[in-house]
Symmetry: D2
Subunit: 192 residues, 4 copies
């Protein structure tokens, strides 16, 4: 059975909602998701690292703070240096998602930071594999549209200044489900 | 008198409209804009390089093709290697703008490519210096809002699949005017 | 039989030497390499695109000019927009290599540009999967050391101001062979 | 009198040595350096933010951990969001330096993360403005050469697995001095 770890940090619950959608996508592909939540930069990361190491793929998620991954996720990345020394994650599939208040807001920079960690760890990177949400122009992409903001490196979602029960919109959550499903299918092939 | 060169490529006229708005911003600051249009990757770039070299600052603009600057602009960058050998643009102010069909579409990657060229040339980089278009969330940012998509490295504009007379929207053009004005003011200080 | 296309541009022959080493690595993995050389930004790319489309994976190579991929490679990327419209390369494996005169020289930016193209095309990215060339510090990494400069996103090679028969050094070519082998093995698994 | 804050984190003392060299460069330009050391990701950043806010320019420094800035520096960036809300650093000069064990090691990614923070804060970015350390090829650049590794976005230094009294080499420290001097001179012009 293919298992996919979803390691994420969430400040106000929006990124957690996206992580949940990613997990649903993993399940849809017939694989098992394992949600692993980071609490803060100072916690003991050993249990999370151990769980993540058992998975066939790891999807990393972050809120975008000042244009990059959160310090809490970065602290997890640094703790993963123990695994790096033995290249323990080499060959596993990796992907990323990032949530923020704005359409751009350097979300691609946050996704790029996740990508670099994955490359240092010898992982194999899977992006969204999605066309733009609306080929007539992004201003016409409905909140329900898959990849409405048109990210390719990873999933970029946008939540308004409201509770995680109402935002980000359904299109963003569908995009997250798609990523979970895609990663799980590729991980299944690679670990066959 | 401070002069700012605006070196840009435009495939279907949308980026040219943004370049025009940048020029208006330069004028608003009491400086002189010089619009320098790139036609294609195979042209003779010597006249453009000579004109750009006379300016106190250079703002580079591009359509986003496959997630990066156009090959035509990249060809201009390569032709600027002659100037690089003598660091002829060192200390000049630089900035960038990128236009595409989508909200994200790796526009930040295109702006980042312009930034790297500017750094190789020893230039000084000026971003938008703008807060997000709407602090309640980007989905609420009107087409008339300054920095509605929330770019910081440079100006990221979005045009729909329609003529340059109707798209990108006024907010994007205002953002471009702001960049032109900001660059001109900083260049004036630096060349004082 | 797994086939891997190696699409590259080379200004003075050094990147061609690296491309040849990548091809040797592909062969070492029991797969078939297909070397596809780009001549310039203005050529007809249709035959190259057709050949590349037949492969199970595509490795892109470039000289680093002014801190980024060459305009010739960027022109090829733009021509690949025809394939992008149907996501014809989706699911294929992708990787990159970049050669330049210096250790850094924004080589990572050039590799990042290749990565973005691959993501737009829905491809799956494979990096070097290599530890640093010398864990005692890069200044101690011999020219014969694998990954002596310590790149992870893709292969970064460095050639001196001399002919491609003597530079880049053997360590860089070994690193390129490793990438070819790694990509071929992963592509074989994914297309099984 | 122009003052330049140098905000840095240092794990084993090597980045601190580079920070000291940056400060010497600031002094050489006739300006006043203010060294502000970050201890860890969980500290109270209010005093550092207050000091940094008094300066005409801020140079940020970091060790490279897993290919990016340290979590401690990222935590400082997040704490600077209070200043971002009022764009309190807008118009100040910014620059960066990053130290690591290897020549590449995604140092440019760490410098890029610093750059993005500076852009979000509305700052003006100054790179090295330096040619490669040796135009015959980086493998010929002596440890005493300025910009021996050829970074342009910011200063990239490399220390071996030895004490900060012997590594990074003198060329790297000279490059750091150059950056401090360059930033101070530009900040003096802009605040005149």
């Amino acid at each position: 059975m293919t298992t996919i770890a979803i390691v994420y940090h969430s400040g106000y619950g929006h990124t957690a909602v996206v992580a949940q959608a990613v997990a649903e996508g993993v399940t849809r592909a017939g694989a098992t998701p394992k949600l692993l939540k980071i609490e803060n930069a100072a916690q003991d990361f050993a249990p999370l690292l151990e769980e993540a190491s058992k998975a066939d793929g790891i999807i990393f998620g972050t809120p975008v703070y000042m244009g990059d991954v959160s310090a809490a996720l970065k602290a997890f990345f640094e703790a993963s240096s123990k695994i790096w020394y033995t290249q323990g994650w080499a060959g596993k599939v990796a992907a990323g998602f990032a949530n923020g208040l704005t359409a751009a807001g350097n979300k691609d920079n946050a996704l790029g930071s996740i990508f670099v960690l994955a490359m240092q760890q010898g992982m194999i990177w899977v992006g969204t594999g999605l066309m733009p949400g609306n080929m007539e122009g992004n201003s016409k992409a409905a909140p329900e549209a898959m990849n409405r903001l048109s990210y390719s490196i990873g999933v970029g979602t946008q939540s308004d200044n409201a509770g995680p029960d109402v935002t980000p919109p359904s299109g963003d959550k569908d995009t997250a489900r798609h990523l979970g499903e895609r990663v799980a299918k590729i991980a299944a092939k690679l670990s066959a």
